[in-house]
Symmetry: C2
Subunit: 105 residues, 2 copies
């Protein structure tokens, strides 16, 4: 049993988003990304079995999908995507997200 | 790609915690539990391979572990536990948590 406090990773960088590994195991990988307004995790995909969840913790932004798809991203919104399906996130304010990848990659 | 808004599951019950399935796939299961103050997910474990993460979304409470172990649970706190290791949650105020289980059980 292990506890991690995301209050300890409330850090940003001006040149690119910050990325913290919260947990990594054979079962899942959990990451915290913090974006300044305007920063983004560009749309990407990998030809790997598995899924990713992206939970908005704080701030406002957009989930990005294939062919320019855009969905509003507000606190408490969860995006679920196959790892092989294009997905990304763009920040409109300072934005904190929690990403879970299973199985881990 | 699928989006779920936890604002839609901000519901409580007086007799026991409320439980919503956010997502269920071969890769992971994501659940939202909402507790009134005093309600709890009692300490439990299953002899199954895998891990569970418990993220505090809102409210105050305690993570519960084996032999009476107690850890403070505040928004942004994440508990990681083997599914086979005793774990639970107790609410001290209205409390919302997001649970991810991989692989799903």
């Amino acid at each position: 049993m292990k506890k991690v406090s995301l209050s300890e990773t409330d850090q940003y960088a001006e040149n690119a988003f910050k990325r913290f590994i919260v947990h990594d195991s054979p079962y899942f990988k959990i990451l915290n990304f913090n974006f300044r307004a305007g920063q983004e995790l560009p749309v990407h995909s990998h030809e790997i079995e598995g899924q990713v969840s992206i939970l908005i913790l704080e701030g406002e932004g957009e989930f990005l999908g294939k062919d320019g798809a855009v969905l509003p991203a507000r606190p408490g919104d969860v995006l679920i995507s196959d790892i092989s399906e294009p997905h990304g996130v763009r920040a409109q304010s300072d934005l904190r997200v929690l990403v879970t990848i299973a199985p881990p990659i």
